[in-house]
């Protein structure tokens, strides 16, 4: 067995606020061996980041305190070292990569200078330029990046630069805290591949913190699963995926939406094919939609350059039909969703609702507010960010009752009962009515948002990345809820997501968007089994799969 680079024993970290101390990790034990790819998996609030940061001698701020236990890096107890010594170790013997590369780079300093500064921080200037170039080659960035500003790089390139900085001093351990979570799936695959390559080349151990089990399955040697501040399972990746021992691990694994292997799916024959049947009545349709944003202006403020966020798209959602809209960030899928609901006017093209003209570039086609309301009622939307999608100043009752009262769906006296019914529908306790959004967790808030959308008994729900900010177990619950609602109310969905597996789980048909255009569409099973467009193929290949190795 190889040497242990990092050894954490019985680590209990708490946060003091006032007189009381809240314990966040309850005696964590883990060890990372030299050159190993070790994954620390957990959902938000499980204490995985706190544990990982302790590997650099960091405690959560403010008020973080070590209650018990030790952290050994190459045999030295980090928390017994003076701050001065710790500072020398950080960056030199252990590197750190964060989730958000754009905030890890100084926006006012050229990339080359930042790389070099990292080097100078812990050593002489001799050969610094050469070493910077060497690392740049190692992370596969072109040399012109040296003279670029951080904002001129894409997210993936930024993360490469951050990795180069972290590895500049040839550390024995690299702590990577959700390094690919903010990146698109194709970029994520590249960065992961790079990390795996560097680990072999530079013989550095990687402590990879993530919520994404599928990523772990592909690359890690060993893993530890954290839940509520404790490590519930630790072992080799093969053993874990073959037979997870702890009930939480099993639940976690079961919650991950799975995408079948291309080629392994039996393509349904035309007779059994339910999706895309022509007799289905179209309820929301966009024809030739184009949405453009001005990106550059002349001296007089007149736009001179445009970006077509949606670039000539025809899309239709039928009755009792779930259409998935997938694409990477910036592909225009959210803009398209909002345009279809008339929240944003198209620059060209038209939106038809139930066969009647709804939105044109000149405005909404309705003549009166009442007419508009009647249209609105049938099409509702749920957003990704649960923190901003509910008015923080309104109680759940107000949030649910106001739309119903405005539409005259129920009488004032009846509102409380109707709201309780809605809560019941989304499986929230009825005593939630008097509470404010901040009293709920992210998943619960998303349920409130769904209840609000359902309050008007719509025909179609636009779901704009509604599960991508949620933990995987919560995500599974929300997806289960959506599927049930679909069946119960014959609800149509326009399901916008970047996660192909999630779309596969919920939708009948899928449309793949890239740079404002739909590059491929068809029934889910067919597209995922036999993608025809090269972009779809690339996207599918980049999706990390459990059991793919």
């Amino acid at each position: 067995m190889s040497r242990e680079v990092l050894k954490i024993e019985g680590l209990r970290i708490g946060v003091k606020s006032g007189a009381e101390t809240r314990e966040l990790t309850h005696g964590t034990d883990l060890s990372v061996r030299a050159g190993e790819f070790f994954a620390l998996v957990g959902e938000s609030g499980s204490g995985k980041t706190i544990t990982a940061q302790a590997a650099l001698g960091f405690l959560p701020q403010p008020g973080g305190t070590r209650l018990a236990g030790r952290v050994e890096l190459d045999g030295r107890d980090l928390f017994s070292l003076p701050e001065e010594e710790l500072r020398k170790i950080r960056g030199k013997e252990v590197g750190l990569v964060f989730q958000e590369p754009s905030s890890a780079l100084d926006p006012l300093m050229r990339v080359g200078r930042q790389l070099k500064e990292t080097l100078l921080l812990h050593g002489g200037s001799e050969g610094a330029d050469e070493r910077v170039r060497e690392m740049l080659r190692a992370v596969e960035l072109p040399e012109r990046v040296l003279d670029a500003w951080p904002h001129e790089l894409s997210g993936g390139m930024q993360q490469r630069a951050v990795i180069a900085m972290a590895l500049m001093h040839r550390p024995s351990l690299l702590v990577a805290d959700e390094p690919t979570t903010a990146l698109d799936v194709t970029i994520q695959a590249q960065v992961l591949e790079l990390l795996a390559k560097l680990r072999k080349e530079l013989d550095v151990a990687v402590l990879f913190v993530t919520h994404n089990l599928a990523l772990v399955a592909q690359r890690a040697d060993r893993l530890a699963v954290m839940e509520k501040g404790s490590i519930v399972e630790e072992g080799s990746v093969e053993d874990f995926f073959r037979a997870p021992k702890h009930p939480y691990s099993r639940r976690l694994l079961a919650s991950v939406p799975k995408l079948p292997e291309p080629g392994r799916i039996s393509v349904p024959d035309a007779g059994a094919e339910k999706a895309g049947t022509p007799e289905r009545r179209t309820i929301l349709e966009g024809r030739g939609l184009r949405v453009r944003f001005a990106t550059k202006f002349d001296l007089l403020g007149r736009p001179t350059e445009w970006l077509d966020a949606v670039d000539g798209v025809d899309v239709a959602v039928g009755e009792d039909h779930a259409l998935g809209l997938v694409g990477e960030s910036g592909s225009g899928k959210s803009t398209l969703g909002q345009t279809l609901l008339g929240l944003r006017l198209p620059s060209e093209g038209e939106v038809f609702a139930d066969g009647a003209l709804f939105a044109t570039p000149a405005g909404l086609a309705m003549r009166s507010a009442a007419e508009e309301r009647a249209f609105r009622r049938r099409f509702q939307i749920v957003f990704q960010d649960t923190a901003s999608s509910l008015n923080p100043r309104s109680t759940v009752f107000d949030i649910l009752a106001r739309p119903m009262l405005a539409h005259g769906i129920c009488a004032k006296a009846d509102a409380r009962r109707r709201c309780a019914e809605l809560l019941d529908l989304v499986e929230l306790p009825s005593d939630s009515l008097g509470r404010f959004p901040h009293a709920f967790s992210g998943g619960q808030r998303q349920r409130v948002a769904i209840a609000r959308a359902l309050s008007l008994r719509p025909k179609l729900l636009v779901c704009d990345e509604i599960v991508s900010a949620l933990d995987v177990t919560i995500q599974a619950q929300i997806l289960g809820l959506l599927k049930r609602l679909r069946k119960e109310f014959r609800l149509s969905l326009l399901f916008i997501a970047h996660d192909l597996a999630v779309v596969h789980e919920v939708c009948d048909d899928v449309a793949v968007m890239k740079s404002g255009r739909i590059v491929e569409r068809g029934p889910c099973a067919e597209v995922f089994a036999r993608p025809s467009d090269p972009y779809t193929k690339k996207l599918l290949a980049a999706v990390p799969r459990i059991g793919a190795e």
């Binding site: 249209f375 009622r377 999608s389 109680t395 404010f436 008007l456």
Partner: protein
Amino acid sequence: MAPEEENLSVGRLRWRRFRSVRRAWWSLIVLGALFAVSLLGPLVAGDRPLLMEYEGELFVPVFAFHSDAEFGGSRASEADYVALKSRADFAEGPNWMVFPVVPHSPYRSHLDSPEPPPHAPSAEHWLGTDASARDVLSRLIHGFRVSMLFALALTLVSAFLGILVGGAQGFFGGKFDIVAQRLVEIWSALPFLYVVILVGSVFGRSFWMLLLSMAAFGWIGLSYYMRGEFLRLRNFGYVKAARALGMGRFHIFVHEILPNAATPAVTLLPFTLIGGIGSLTALDFLGFGLQPPTPSWGELLSQGLQHLYAPWIAVSAVAALFFTLLLATFVGEGVRAAFDPRAERR
């Protein structure tokens, strides 16, 4: 967040946080109490008795008009109770009267002393008298009421206008916003002091005229904040959701955006109040404020400056102004702490 706090509204949480800033909470209590006292006006400082008995009959002169003739005098004008009290026939009978704590009207000149005014503080006049022999303490109390009422009214009107204009700009955005913003900028470029002086000399100086002309400029600062907040919030999920739900514009403005945009407005209010008191004092000091003989701190200050040999005038006025502004600033500090978004994300 502690579990018992979970179900409180944001407003209640903020109120709690405000009260936990002890200095602010106490300042609010003291300032509120002082204002309440000053609102009592002639019940606290005045030369009409709160209650009196004259020839077996009870009178409440502080609330009711009684002529000199009713008390055995000859004039039909209001009785002079101070003189009445010292009259021989009043003192001999079973008659009595109770004066307010400060038994001086802010308007009455006490010229019966052999010394020329202003008179130094004495048992009779606790803070002395001013150059017209009027009781300084009484004028301070009545001046405080005038200042506070003026500043509160100014704050309310400015806040309303600021929210309305700034909110509408941010809410509608686009061309309306751009045009309105240019107009606001032109308006704000007008020299406010000259306008106030001009309006005062054309239409006469009165409380309402002054309030109107100062409010006409007071809302601009706030409107910038409101515009920014509305522009930011109108792209929030819950505003978009409300639009998708077909809610009316008025509803979205008032119920969805305004409660969440109110933070800068509420945080600014105590400081607008301070500004109001300060501006009124300054205008009075310069002689462009309220019509004399309205009791006013600025007028007292300018007297103090003219009669530096009578330091009790200037010291009283400056001290009163200083403590009022200090208390209001502490309150403002507490409000700002209560609305601090960093505290909300704990």
